[in-house]
Every structure is written in C-alpha cells, then in structure tokens.
C-alpha cells in the first residue's frame, strides 16, 4: 500500500507527514506526530474524545483520514493555551473541577471552544446540546456546563 504525502498546518505550524490511505487523522496525530491529547474512546464518532477543529469546523479526528488534512488547518488541544497562559476554558475547567479522570477533557475543551466561537453567549440548553457529542462518564456534566458558562462570561468581558 502506497503512503500518501501530506502537507498541512497543525496548531499554526507547517507539518508534513506520510500516512497510509486508510489511516485516520487521529492515528496520525497520536502515533506519527506524538500529539496524544486527542483520545480514542470509540473510533466511531460516538464519544467526541478525539475532537479537533479542521478549517473552523469541529470534527472527530477518528472520522477523518490523515490524507484529507492536505492543505488544511488543524487545531488540537495542544494548541489551545498560549505558551504558559491557559485559555479561559482551560482555567475554568480547573477552577470548577469540571474533570475527574480527565480523558474526555481535551475533547470537551475543543468542542466548547468551537461552541463559544459560534455562540459567545449560549444558554444552558444550548451548551448541553452543543456538547452532546462529547461523552463524560465521571462528572454528570454539571460542573462542565458551569465551567463553560463561567468561561463564556469571562470571554465576553475580555
């Protein structure tokens, strides 16, 4: 099987890699590029733990081929903080204890970032439906929703 050469942008950096035609972008990120922040919880788009932003669209990286990233912009959890300054969502997740085991957290943060970019002032219901593609088994979602609400108000003020 011939490899596919891909040239893309990940978290603002130009990246080139060779991948197999059936290899998912999630596998490329994790196994070829060492970006293990996106997690594989299911591999079928049902848990959202592998969420990334691809050209301003929230997607599951397990449902994207590595080959499809050619010429596109990929944003992952590793690019969310600016240097040592956390994104307000990251900070609020910590303050509200919106994580217990933390495996779903990168996916939630990326999904919440996308949500607030498209809707800076969401209602609780909009947050809940906006994050319905991300499964969390530890928290019951209560503290996650509160953290997103708090981050939204901080970001509006900024």
């Amino acid at each position: 099987m011939a490899g596919v050469a891909v040239s893309t942008t990940i978290n603002g950096d130009h990246v080139e890699y060779l991948c197999q035609p059936d290899e998912t972008l999630l596998d490329v990120l994790r196994d070829r590029l060492g970006l293990t922040g996106a997690k594989e919880g299911c591999g079928t788009g049902d848990c959202g733990a592998c969420s990334i932003i691809l050209d301003d669209r929230l997607v599951c990286s397990c449902l994207v081929l590595g080959a499809e990233a050619e010429g596109r912009r990929v944003e992952t959890i590793e690019g969310m903080a600016h240097g040592d300054k956390l994104h307000p969502l990251q900070q609020k997740f910590l303050e509200h204890a919106a994580l217990q085991c933390g495996i779903c957290t990168p996916g939630f943060l990326i999904a919440a970032k996308d949500l607030l970019a498209k809707n800076p002032d969401p209602t609780e219901e909009e947050i809940r439906f906006g994050l319905a593609g991300n499964l969390c088994r530890c928290t019951g979602y209560d503290k996650i929703v509160r953290a997103v609400q708090d981050a939204a108000s901080v970001m509006k003020g900024a």
Binding site: M1, Q20, R30, L35, T36, G37, A38, K39, E40, G41, C42, G43, T44, D46, C47, A49, T76, I77, E78, M80, A81, L86, Q90, F93, L94, E95, H96, A97, L99, Q100, C101, G102, I103, C104, T105, P106, L109, E124, E125, I127, R128, F129, L131, A132, G133, N134, L135, C136, R137, C138, T139, G140, Y141, D142, K143, I144, V145, R146
Partner: protein, 754 residues
C-alpha cells in the same frame, strides 16, 4: 507503629477547602499520559482474536498461517499461558478469562493473540488464525440459566451453601443467606404486605478510556508494564502469578486512568501483552477497541429479585424478605451475596432474611461496578418500600424515617452500626425545597435511599521533605478522580503547611510497598489515613532535628502550624523553626527527612444517601425527561468538597443512565447486539439537568479527620428513585430496568387496556 486513627475533632485549615488539583494543568492541556499515550522503542502492536460464539468447544487452533505472515513476531494461545495458579480457583478463572482454555464461554472471549509490526499486519494475522469450534447450547438470561433444563456452563459446579450437597451440577455456584429474627412471625404481625418481582439488565461501567497497556519483558526475566488500572500492585500480583514471575521483577506503572468505576480492578489483556512480549522479545502495546471493551470487559450482573415487606398500620415494618439472583458471567462470583447484604441495610428491622444465588451465564465475567450489586437490590427494595408506604397511607419520606436504621441498630447483614447518616439524609431530604416544588402534567417525583459499606485495606505511603522544605507525597492508591488533591490537603493539614507546598504522585510498584487497589471508596479514606500517619512520623523527625538545632530535649519541642516550637520557661528566648528552616539544615542534622507509613486502614465508615428526582413521561411515546435531581449524602468529612460533589453527581448520572436506557442486548445467537456507544446509550449532556448536591458530615469515629468513603454510594439510590418517579408520573409500577421508552409505553398501554 503507634498510630492513633481515632477521630480527633480538630479544626481544619486546609481540609475542606477547594484548591486546583495538582494534575489539573496536564489534563487540560493534553499532556497527561493515559494508558494508550505511552510508547516504547521497537514496540509491536498486540491484537486479540475473540470468539464470535457464546458457548463453544475449541477443538483446535491453527496459527501457522498467521505466524508465516511477514511482520508477525508472536502468536499466542492458551498454550503459551500455562496454568500456574496452583489450585487458586479465582486466579484460574482470571487466567481462563484472559485466554480461553478449551472452551469459549461468551461472545468476545479471547482465544488467541498476535504481536506484529503494525496494526494492519496484526489485523491481517488475526484473520489467518483458524479456530475449529464445536458450538454448544448457550444461555444468557439469569432466570433461564437457573432452570434444570438450562445448558450447563461448567459441569464441575455444584451449588455451595446448600444444607445438602447437590448430586447434580448446575449453573448456580452458591447460595448465601443473611438476616435475623423470624420473618414468618413478622409477616404475621403485618397489616399490609407488598410482594413484587423485579428485573435489571446488565450494564457496563462505560469508562471512556479503553483498556490499554505496554508490556516489555526482558530476556533476564525482568519486566515493565505501563497500564491504566485501578490497582497496579494488584495487577502486578496477578500478572506475576499468571506468568510465573517474581513480583519484584515486574515493575508496574499506573498511567493516568480514564475512568474505571470497578472495571479496571482485575487483569484482562495485561498477561496477554506480557506473554506476547516474552515470546517476541520486544515491547508490545495492546489497546482494546470499544467493541472489545463492551464484549469482553467488565459488565455488572443482570438480576432478578423478589421482595416481600410487611408493615403495621402505624408504618412500622414488621418483616422484610428478598431473594436475589445475580448473573456472574461464566465464572463463580459473590455478587448476589453482596446484594443480599446491602438490600435492607438502610432499615431497622426485627425480622429480615435475604437469600442470594450466584448464577453462571454465557456473558462476560462480571466485574465490580461502583457499589457493586447494591443498586439492583436497592431498586427492588426501595420500589417495594414506596408501594408499602402508599398502602399504609404514609408519605414515603416519613415512612422511611420511621424505619431508618440508627446508631446501635443491628444491620440486616450482621454488624451493629456506629454513628450513621441514613436518618440525617432523610431529614435533609424531607426539608429540601425540592420536595415541595410543584409538579406539572405527566410529571412525577420519586425518592430512594442507598447504602454502601466502604472499604479500607492495605496502604503504604511515603512523605519526603525536600531540602527546600517542599513536600512530595508518594501514594500507592491510583487517583481516579482527584485524590492527589485531597491527599495533598491532608498532608498540608497535618504538617501545618500550605497546600501548594505539597506535590502528590502515584508511585510505581517498585517504589512503594503494597497497596490494595482504588476500590470500595477507599482511595481517600485509606491513603489519607496513611498520609496522616506518614506526616506524624515526619513530624517526629522534624521535632528531633529542631531539638538538635536548639540543643534541647525533643520532649520540649512541639509541632504547631508548620513550626517547631520550644516549650517551657527555660526556652523562652528560642524563636520558632519552620519546616523549611529545619529542612534546609537537614544535611547537617542527620540527613533526609521523611515519614513512612504502612498500615491496614480499618474502620471504614458505612455510607448512606437519599436521592430525590422529578421525571416527565410522554404518555404517547414512553419518552422520559429528568427534570430535577438532588443528592443528599453523608461524607463523614469532605476533604475537597468540590470533588465530593463530583462523586455525588457522577454516581447519580451513571444511575440515571442505568435506570433509563443502558443495557446489554443479546441476540438469540448469544451475541452482543450493541457493543458501542451508539447503541449502548450512556447519558449525554443534553439528557441531564444540573444535579444538586448536599453534603452531610457525620464524622467516622475511626478516622482522624472523620473521613468516610464517598465514591460509590451515589449510584445506589438512582435506579429506585427514578423508578418511583416514573411510576408516579406514568401511573403504573415499573419493575424492569432499564425503563426504556418501549418498556414504559408497553406498561402504559397494558394499563389502559386494563
């Protein structure tokens, strides 16, 4: 060791505050490393071949074609994992579950495994392994499996616990019984009796992180294992025993763990990964797919329970009886026994009897799931209690308050209670505004109580004071949800220093003495006890060093608020010495300062909770909506209240999923129909409301700070609380969990049809 674990009633400075957890930044930046996030140079990809049959004799496995495939470095079957369990029946079952020996006992049972250079080659190799199966009749339903006509899963099983040893084998491995008094007489005094049968379907813990490990066995017999587990010391023992290794030569490092809830308490694929690595001579990474997680790892029991409770007109329960049948998968277990112990634990009963039956079925080996066995028993009992209250004509809360256990009550499973929280949680629920909130059309309110034992167990902790006065705390209980924060608070409290001065880590198996795993809600309870003990031991040394620096007797040095203070008039001119000052000087006063602790944390305090919920039912479709949910639970002492709330909310959410939608669905062929998150429906964010919590603190007398476990009790009441709410909303008693829309609609239609 002169450690005094008794509750001291001290005032707290750090404990009870809500700082940010020490592992937090790594987890919000994607830096934290979980089971599948670790790699070793030269590592191979391991994959497991699983039986597609529910029950089949394995006549022959031919691996020759797979072995010849370029890139395949090892293929193993049960023959590569010889039986070294030496009569240890429980470990033999674990071994058989890791790799089928002669018979495949459920859809998903491992039969062979490969290690190859990449995932594609490994997948291809699995297809080349030829297994010759002889299909056997199977049984997956718990009640069916108990019938005399049921296919036998293990013909060496003769029911234990019967007065007469049975002459024929059966699928019932054990009968157990608990209780006291005379239920026959008790029912004779009852004015009202409720008798009902209930069923619950099998659920999965549903942790988002699949099982994952990297195993590396060297030719000199030493090995490393990186794994997501609730107990790396236990995994080390299991693996060492199954592979014939010396425990000290196998170092197990627990990765960050992406959820366990009981499902990561015994080995599944780890011995397989080690065996593959041993055979291939290279490290092997083995990660389960989600499909494998559902088909082959830890579901809870499916159950069938009969309950009978009687009460006098004044609302006093006169007798209570339950028969509980729990599925164990294809191996013996004690799941019904635990259910039988917990069933009536909330109540003060003169006459009580519970009987449990452990039942083998062709489903995956049952594993613990958060307060294992208790939610199903509580569902049956608390549903019947609600009905009985209605019969008597009492408010369900008042009825429970009247019959609640209290200090001095002999519990239904034997022991006499110390100070407990069932009464206070009921009183708190009674006066909670939720109880008085108005309900709309098609809406119903339900409440229920729950109990869990909590455990303590073997614990070992190191507390090392650095030369700069910072403190590193090494614990051996895996942090499943924030315990490094709570244990840092405890260390800071005991030493009298700031939380930020402490850094807690989970040490690997070579760096610390043995620890039981994080289960039974023991993580914070037992490791905080060991941390307090270690801190006290360190303080003793700190005092000695201060005495040395001052050149006075150690008896004249006390430890207060993080400082050594010289007491007595003759030392009036001596200032205080901070922990840091003593630490900086330690090189000249005798070397490093550390406190160690090895103990068995006895006296875990039992825990109780009361939940209230409001549900709306669509009478045309059977759809449900959770409108409001409140948890009231006794924590003993909430060390980090935010994470205690998180445990309450998380358990409630899991219980809501179990009550309404989650279930293993088997086809007639005995294959699991829904091994994925699409059709195994755990609650999503939009399914739930905010979950209100109220923490009560009734100190555990057997812990210096009064701590009880908090992790598990929260999943016990929801099944019953929701069943009571749905039954009130729909006007028909629901007796089968999950209460999925087809079941609710069918119940409503049946009632309409009369």
């Amino acid at each position: 060791m002169n450690f005094d674990p008794r509750f001291s009633g001290r005032k707290f400075t750090s404990v009870g505050t809500r700082p940010i957890r020490p592992d937090g930044v790594d987890k919000v930046t994607g830096r934290a490393r979980y089971g599948a996030d670790f790699n070793m140079a030269g590592q191979l990809v391991g994959r497991v071949l699983r039986s597609p049959h529910a029950h089949a004799k394995i006549r022959k496995i031919d691996t020759s074609k797979a072995e010849k495939l370029p890139g395949v470095k090892a293929v193993i079957t049960a023959a590569d994992l010889p039986d070294l369990t030496d009569g240890d029946a429980a470990m033999y079952d674990v071994l058989d579950n890791c790799m089928a020996r002669g018979k495949a006992l459920y859809d998903g049972h491992a039969v062979a495994a490969v290690a190859a250079v990449d995932a594609r080659t490994a997948r291809q190799a699995l297809k080349l392994i030829e297994v010759d199966y002889e299909l056997l009749p199977h049984v997956t339903d718990v009640d069916e499996a108990m019938k005399h006509s049921a296919p036998l899963i293990n013909d060496a099983i003769f029911t234990e616990g019967l007065e007469e040893k049975p002459v024929k084998p059966s699928n019932v491995t054990k009968r157990s019984q608990f209780g006291h008094g005379d239920v026959h007489q008790g029912f004779g005094h009852a004015d009202f009796i409720v008798e009902r049968s209930f069923k619950t379907e099998q659920t999965h813990q549903g942790y988002i992180e699949p099982h994952a490990c990297v195993a590396s066995v060297s030719s000199d017999g030493t090995a490393d294992l990186w794994v997501c587990t609730q107990g790396h010391f236990v995994y080390r023992q299991h693996c060492a025993q199954l592979l014939g290794m010396e425990a000290s030569k196998l170092r197990v490092t627990s990765s960050e763990i992406g959820g366990g809830f009981g499902g990561k308490t015994h080995v599944w694929a780890e011995p397989v990964a080690l065996a593959l690595s041993r055979k291939a001579g290279r490290p092997v990474k083995l990660v389960m797919t989600r499909d494998e997680v559902f088909r082959a790892s830890g579901p809870t029991s499916a159950t069938s329970v009969d309950v009978r409770i009687g009460a006098r007109k004044d609302g006093t329960i006169t007798a209570a009886e339950a028969t509980l049948r729990y599925s164990c998968g294809p191996y013996a277990g004690s799941w019904a026994e635990i259910g039988a112990m917990t069933a009536f634990a909330c109540y003060r009963l003169d006459n009580v009897k519970t009987v449990g039956y452990e039942v083998l079925v062709n489903r995956p080996k049952t594993a613990a799931y958060r307060a294992p066995s208790a939610p199903m028993a509580a569902f049956a009992v608390e549903s019947a209690v609600d009905e009985l209250a209605k019969e008597v004509g009492m408010d369900p809360v008042e009825f429970r308050i009247r019959n609640a256990a209290q200090e001095g009550t002999r519990s239904s499973y034997g022991p006499v209670y110390g100070p407990i929280g069932i009464g206070p949680t009921l009183e708190a629920a009674k006066s909670h505004p939720h109880m008085k909130a108005p309900l709309g059309k098609n809406q119903g309110r339900g409440m229920a109580c729950g109990f869990w034992f909590n455990f303590g167990g073997q614990t070992c902790t190191d507390l090392n004071i650095g030369m700069d006065g910072s403190v590193s705390l090494a614990v051996g209980t895996v942090d499943v949800g924030g315990s490094r924060a709570s244990l840092s608070l405890v260390a800071a409290e005991e030493l009298g220093i700031a939380y930020e001065q402490v850094k807690a880590i989970v040490a690997d198996t070579s760096s610390l003495g043995y620890n039981d795993m994080t289960d039974g809600s023991r993580g914070t309870f037992s490791s905080s006890m060991a941390t307090i003990s270690a801190a006290r031991n360190a303080i003793k040394i700190l005092r000695e060093r201060a005495a040395q620096m001052w050149d006075i007797s150690v008896d004249d040095v006390v430890w207060e608020n993080g400082h050594a203070i010289a007491k007595g008039e003759k030392h009036g001119n001596l200032g205080r010495l901070s922990l840091k000052e003593i630490a900086v000087a330690s090189g000249k006063t005798g070397g490093p300062i550390a406190g160690h602790s090895e103990l068995v944390a006895d006296g875990a305090g039992v825990s109780f909770a009361t939940h209230i919920c409001d549900i709306e039912v669509d009478p045309e479709t059977g759809a449900t909506r959770v409108l409001r949910y409140t948890v009231v639970q006794d924590a003993g002492k909430a060390v980090h209240p935010t994470y205690v709330e998180g445990q309450y909310q998380g358990g409630a959410a899991q219980g809501i999923g179990w009550a309404l939608n989650e279930e293993y669905i088997y086809g007639k062929d005995g294959r699991l129909q829904n091994p994925g998150f699409l059709d195994y429906r755990i609650p999503v964010c939009s399914d739930l409301p905010m979950i209100d919590t109220q923490i009560l603190e009734i100190p555990n007398p057997n812990h210096p700070y009064g701590v009880r476990g908090v992790g598990e009790t929260s999943i016990v009441p929801p099944l019953a609380a929701i069943a009571n709410a749905v039954s009130n909303a729909a006007g028909v008693r629901m007796t089968h969990i999950p209460m999925s829309p087809p079941r609710i609609l069918a119940a409503i239609e049946a009632k309409r049809a009369g």
